[in-house]
């Protein structure tokens, strides 16, 4: 990352200021300004902001101001922002002294804190997740997904559901229209008449099967050699067949069991099981057989040397193919190679004896090489033969590059040559002999029927269409709709029917398309002032479930009693207990604690060999902590020092733990220590670094913004970020301190840097460390060794980390434990921050001075009642900030 990019990345973590042009007819009036303020404005602002050609439509006309005028307050908030953040006057103009600037800022701050009112959300377009959930709910269409090519949403103030950032552009609207057409096609498919079955013969043959990893073609036979559990390792499937229509097909397979005297595995007496599965497509897939539909199984006799022919009728859905698999072979799981080595001391000893790097060899070369070692004297007393085989690569046995793979190679070559294996000699298929209604069609029919409702007898098209439209629009637009609007959509449907001689369905198809690109669907809360019942229901529902209101919530809104505090509370409780609140947990934590960023970070392999499984375990840890605090109404300080966490064994190398088993476990620690909480979660520490090195400024900015609730402005233009040099010539502290020598930097960095230093003990993947790493400058093959070693030992210990930091109130912190203690002791700092974040997420706008008053009250009220997190969410929902647009 270049220096400039680093600084930009830093800026992106902080609050971004957006200019809004103000109508030029807004003039301040009423109350008179104190002298210092009118002096400040005269000297610094009126040069550009006065008269008819006032810049940005902002005019300072009189020496009076009117705190009753909402728009004036809004404007003064902007003035406060640009003055306090040194954005105005522009840098090329004469500047006020620091003292004058601070006096003006402080005065504005105190006035605004007193006068400003909460509110100010810009009309919000549904973001991608909300849009998808809305379609799913509206049509009972859970499998709906927007395509990968769907444009991404912008993030502002830390979240991707902020009104002013959710822009609509022509390509996005075109996408909405395209998706609307696809949805309408699914709900009301075009009329294709009745289909008929036209049977056809498809000769596939043994060589017309696609291979997976453990199958081979031996002459005119297709050899199934493994019984592992997934398609990609075990099965064969036709290269050139998929069912043209859903129907019954007659399948013929010739198969024979291969067993020879040279086999390593004992002769199998039970018949070989040939299993046939439905496969969704012809392309390579990684499906586990357990998840695929079983079609048929045959027993292939073991005492017959010529192929036996099997025939069956199977049901295939349109587009489906089938896979052939051997169900009961000896090579049956990923653990088999461990078993093989235990049983087969000679093989194990031979493998230990091979000193050559096996990479680059073919499977059969490796097999021959191993056989050679077996023949030329083995050391059967090697103590390593009796060691437990552990870990991914069975690290103890000779070469470190995947001995598991080598066992696989050897065994596969062996069964390929001598068996046991199941040979397919012929495959053909004929059909469809008759058509069937597949699951997709059934679901489709049901969806169509639900959408259309039951049409009463003797009802005119108009009356019927009107009833369908009325019901649909109310749900699509999440509110009661006017008769006029229902009328317009009804007219549209009837017009299409008459003009084109279409069915009712085809007319409604057009209405669905219009509704799904309507501003009433795509936007929420457009109406100004206090939210009405329906907008309140939507805000609550999208806040806690990222989905539109369900019928119960909608009912309350329709009855007009949702704002009743008890009902609002019980509805909040209900949504928080529903399954769908998981959307809130993952979306909110993913953005607040940065876990969404993890997939963009690729740790340096010399430091840590990072896989997707690590990311999943790290993300789960964050979400499960949040979930427990929410569910059990634990106190807000639990986020800082919970005394427990949810860990999976794949994180052992990060946390230095020794967990076993496949499940995520709840582990407990003593409170007051380093472990546990958002300030020591590896996910958070990784998300606040870049995978290669850590940066106190980046983490300091993150802490101020996301834990202390004091966002810092971005750096001034053209200032390079400091670069990290961990080679030992300079310490991080001296670098950071140099950075603060400049007065203009020091204003913010005095707060940022000492705070960031406290987290320096966490490395870029969130591991605890005492020293900075020095990357061993490995290149070429040496680096490759490290790359494949999965131990991440490409570093050595460098300078000792100095994690002492000082807070702006003078509190000295030795390390993260002190920081945690400070935040627990002063929990209202964190509560205020968290409440603000939740409100930004819920309302889709930044918090203004009026909101800040509301937040202070929420925080102190909840604290008095025991400071439970669930109570905090309820207090937020019942607050003034939540209730206004």
């Amino acid at each position: 990352m270049t220096e400039q990019l680093k600084h930009q990345a830093l800026a992106a973590l902080t609050l971004t200021l957006i200019f809004v042009s103000i109508d030029s007819d807004r003039v301040f009036g009423a109350e008179s300004l104190p002298n210092h303020a009118s002096e400040f404005i005269r000297k610094n602002c009126q040069g550009c902001h006065s008269g008819d050609d006032a810049q940005a439509g902002v005019r300072f006309e009189s020496s009076h101001l009117n705190w009753q005028n909402a728009r004036a307050i809004h404007l003064w908030e902007r003035v406060y922002d640009v003055v306090s953040k040194h954005e105005m006057p522009p840098s090329e103009s004469p500047q006020p002294t620091i003292g004058q600037r601070e006096r003006m800022s402080q005065w504005l701050q105190s006035q605004l804190s007193h006068h400003a009112r909460p509110g100010g959300t810009t009309i919000r377009r549904l973001n991608r997740e909300e849009y998808e959930n809305s379609i799913r709910d509206l049509f009972d269409f859970p499998e709906f997904n927007a395509p990968d090519a769907f444009p991404a949403d912008d993030t502002r103030f830390g979240f991707d559901n902020i009104g002013e950032a959710l822009i609509l552009s022509p390509p996005l609207l075109a996408q909405y229209l395209e998706l609307a057409t696809q949805v309408a096609d699914t709900i009301l498919p075009p009329d294709n008449g009745d289909e008929v079955a036209v049977p056809k013969h498809y000769h596939i043959g043994a060589t017309g099967l696609a291979e997976s990893a453990w199958t081979t073609v031996e002459g005119d036979r297709f050899r199934l050699a493994s019984s592992k559990r997934d398609n990609a390792h075990t099965a064969g499937w036709p290269i050139r067949f998929s069912a043209p229509k859903s129907g019954v097909y007659r399948l013929t397979v010739d198969a024979v069991a291969l067993q020879t005297d040279e086999m390593f595995y004992p002769r199998q007496e039970a018949p070989f099981r040939l299993s046939i599965y439905a496969k969704k497509k012809t392309e390579q897939t990684y499906d586990a057989f357990a998840n695929l539909r079983k079609l048929k199984a045959f027993d292939v006799p073991v005492d017959q040397s010529s192929p036996h022919s099997f025939t069956c009728d199977v049901e295939l859905n349109r587009g489906e193919s089938f896979g052939l698999r051997w169900g009961n072979g000896p090579i049956d799981s990923n653990g088999f190679n461990r078993v093989r080595l235990k049983q087969d001391r000679k093989l194990h000893a031979a493998m230990l004896g091979i000193k050559r790097d096996p990479r680059g060899m073919t499977q059969s070369q490796y097999y021959e090489l191993t056989l050679g070692h077996m023949a030329n004297g083995l050391n059967l007393d090697d103590p390593r033969l009796d060691e437990e085989l552990e870990g991914r690569g069975f690290g103890g046995i000779g070469h470190k590059n995947g001995p598991q793979l080598m066992v696989n190679w050897f065994a596969h070559e062996e069964v390929r040559r001598y068996g046991p294996a199941l040979d397919i000699t012929e495959v053909s298929i004929e059909g469809p002999t008759r058509l069937i209604e597949d699951d997709e069609m059934r679901v489709q029919k049901k969806r169509t029927a639900t959408f259309l409702g039951k049409r009463p007898a003797n009802v005119s098209d108009r009356a019927y269409v009107k009833s369908v439209i009325g019901r649909f629009l109310q749900r699509a637009f999440r509110r009661s709709v006017s008769d006029l609007l229902v009328q317009k959509y009804t007219d549209l449907v009837l017009y299409e029917m008459q003009r084109r001689g279409a069915r009712v369905q085809d007319g409604l198809h057009v209405a669905i398309r219009r509704a799904l690109v309507s501003p009433n669907f795509l936007y929420r809360s457009p109406r100004d002032g206090r939210l009405d019942q329906f907008d309140l229901a939507s805000r609550l529902s999208y806040f806690l479930t990222s989905s539109p209101p369900d019928s119960e919530l909608f009912q309350h809104a329709a009855e007009g009693n949702l704002a009743v505090p008890d009902i609002l509370k019980s509805e909040t409780q209900r949504l928080l207990s529903s399954k769908r609140h998981g959307n809130f947990v993952s979306s909110f934590t993913g953005q607040w604690l940065g876990t969404r960023r993890l997939s963009d970070i690729m740790p340096d392999p010399r430091l840590f060999f990072y896989y997707q499984q690590h990311r999943i375990a790290q993300t789960n840890e964050v979400e499960m902590l949040f979930e427990e605090i929410l569910k059990e109404n634990l106190t807000v300080d639990t986020f800082i020092d919970p005394g427990f966490s949810y860990r999976h064994k794949v994180l052992n190398k990060i946390y230095g733990s020794e967990l076993e088993g496949d499940q995520t476990q709840r582990v407990e620690f003593k409170r007051g220590g380093r472990e546990g909480g958002i300030l020591s979660l590896s996910a958070v520490m990784m998300a606040t670094a870049n995978g290669v090195d850590t940066h106190p400024v980046q983490r300091g900015v993150w802490l101020l913004e996301n834990v202390f609730g004091r966002p810092t402005p971005g750096p001034p233009n053209n200032v390079p970020a400091i670069s990290v040099d961990t080679s030992g010539t300079t310490t991080m502290r001296t670098l950071v301190e140099k950075h603060r020598a400049d007065q203009s930097c020091a204003r913010c960095h005095d707060q940022i840097d000492p705070l960031g230093m406290v987290l320096e003990n966490f490395d870029p993947v969130g591991r605890w460390r005492k020293n900075y790493p020095i990357y061993i400058q490995a290149t070429g093959d040496a680096l490759k060794e490290e790359f494949y070693s999965s131990t991440g030992t490409g570093t050595k210990a460098g300078p000792v980390i100095d994690s002492v930091g000082v807070l702006s109130d003078g509190t000295k912190l030795n390390d993260v434990t002190d920081l945690k203690r400070y935040l627990v002791d002063n929990v209202e700092i964190f509560s205020r921050c968290l409440t603000g974040k939740l409100l930004v997420y819920a309302t889709g706008r930044p918090m203004n001075f009026g909101d800040r008053r509301v937040i202070d009250k929420i925080v102190s009220d909840v604290k008095e009642e025991g400071n439970g997190f669930r109570d905090l969410i309820i207090a937020i929902v019942q607050s003034e900030s939540f209730a206004v647009k």
């Binding site: 009309i123 395509p147 057409t181 696609a210 680059g360 057009v510 457009p526």
Partner: protein
């Protein structure tokens, strides 16, 4: 009665996607685009970018010597006959990071996920053809195999089935009826929306009015595009004398067969002037190929990690040569074909062929295999880029040249600021 049947034809048909015709109209109708059209009225320009996912063995891909007199390297022998219309570049890359992620940057330059240069060209040329650009592959490639990116940084989906590509080019009557019907009715869909939004507008604040303006201008823009789409859909699609196999060869084992068909259809797409910008990603999995009756010693992916072992390199090269052989057949078609206005395809089509993978053995993304062919540019040499030069050339510089060749007036692209015209003009 027959007439009723015809009138209702548009209500039938399987669900057709409007996605493709939609794309064709994303191209902005800029003034300079039409200027460009006038300049080159007798000579259209076309671009084809072809990326081979698992790369090539560098030592057998690059010639040993530079200049005109180089000896044709083994991998490129199948296209030796195109020597005069081909430039080989060694030493070009994006100075980007290594690993799989690097692939996504192949034609988008240094920054992964930013706009790819073919899309800038498509913006420039797209108004003149049915599709501004088309993206192709074979089957379903691995997840990180992406080629074209929009300005919004969104990876464009690729067509992986020959039958779908064919249908896209030579749409049948019933599909056309349905699309035309959807487009027409979409106009009434949009008509009502402006009115609906206006009702809302009355109750919103001034800030929100700006948001609604976004909505109004988007609706009007899409309306204009619908008009254009309707024009295209009503123009007759070209006819093709080409027989597809009964079943799409999308299984990994028969990927080479799929590759051949895709090339055939690409040549037809250019010949019929259905589009002037094509990208083609040639994927690779762990399939074991049988080439000239010999089963290779390992799966393709495993061959690409050959560990510098001679037998594996030989087999890896065999697959590489099969790719190049198919490229050769495509180039032969370009050489012998002319478009409807009798322009020779080879002279009007610039083909970029290569890989985002430099050395697949180590996932190294430096020294990317890069060929440039046709397009009326100056060819015939192997250029080795001197990396020790004070400001060494990079692949983005070549793209900048190409952008300028296509009339995109940019003087930088993804960090590159100097073109490589001295190699091409």
């Amino acid at each position: 009665m027959k007439q009723t049947g015809d009138r209702r034809a548009f209500l039938k048909g399987s669900s057709v996607s409007l996605a493709l015709p939609m794309l064709e109209t994303f191209a902005p109708s800029r003034a300079k685009a039409s200027m460009q059209a006038e300049e080159s009225i007798d000579r259209p320009k076309r671009l084809v970018c072809i990326g081979v996912y698992l790369g090539f063995y560098q030592r057998d891909f690059f010639p040993a010597t530079t200049g005109h007199q180089y000896e044709m390297p083994p991998t490129l022998r199948p296209i030796a006959g195109h020597r005069d219309t081909m430039s080989i570049f060694s030493g070009l890359d994006h100075r980007g990071r290594n690993g799989h992620e690097g692939w996504r940057a192949w034609i988008s330059g240094k920054a992964t996920g930013s706009v790819s240069f073919d899309q800038l060209v498509a913006d420039q040329l797209g108004d003149q053809t049915r599709y501004a650009s088309l993206q192709l592959t074979c089957g379903s490639p691995p997840g990180d195999a992406k080629l074209s990116f929009t300005k919004e940084g969104v990876a464009l989906p690729m067509i992986g089935r020959p039958s779908v590509f064919y249908k896209t080019l030579f749409r049948s009557g019933s599909d056309k009826d349905r699309i035309s019907y959807l487009l027409k009715t979409n106009r009434s869909v949009l008509d009502g929306l402006i009115e609906e939004a206006k009702t809302l507008e009355r109750s919103v604040t001034a800030d929100d009015r700006e948001k609604l303006n976004e909505y109004f201008s988007s609706v009007r823009d899409v309306e204009k595009k619908l008009q254009k789409q309707l024009l295209w859909v009503n123009k007759p699609t070209p006819r093709a004398d080409y027989t597809l196999p009964e079943f799409d060869p999308v299984a990994p084992d028969v990927a080479l067969e799929c590759e051949s068909i895709m090339y055939d259809l690409m040549a037809l797409a250019l010949k019929t002037d259905s589009t002037r910008v094509l990208t083609f990603l040639i994927p690779g999995w762990s399939q074991v190929f049988t080439i000239r009756d010999r089963r290779l010693s390992a799966g393709y992916h495993s061959l690409s990690h050959h560990g510098n072992e001679a037998a594996k390199i030989a087999d890896y090269n065999l697959v590489g040569m099969e790719h190049v052989r198919r490229l050769g057949a495509f180039l032969d078609k370009l050489r012998t074909s002319r478009d409807a206005d009798n322009n020779p395809l080879m002279d009007t089509t610039t083909v970029l062929y290569g890989s985002g993978m430099g050395d697949s053995n180590t996932h190294d993304n430096t020294n990317l295999p890069t060929l440039l062919l046709g397009g009326g540019l100056r060819h015939g040499q192997h250029h080795r880029i001197d990396k020790q030069a004070p400001t060494p050339r990079r692949l983005g510089d070549l793209y900048l040249s190409l952008l300028q060749h296509f009339g995109v007036r940019e003087d930088q692209f993804a960090g590159a600021t100097s073109n490589m015209n001295e190699y091409l003009l």
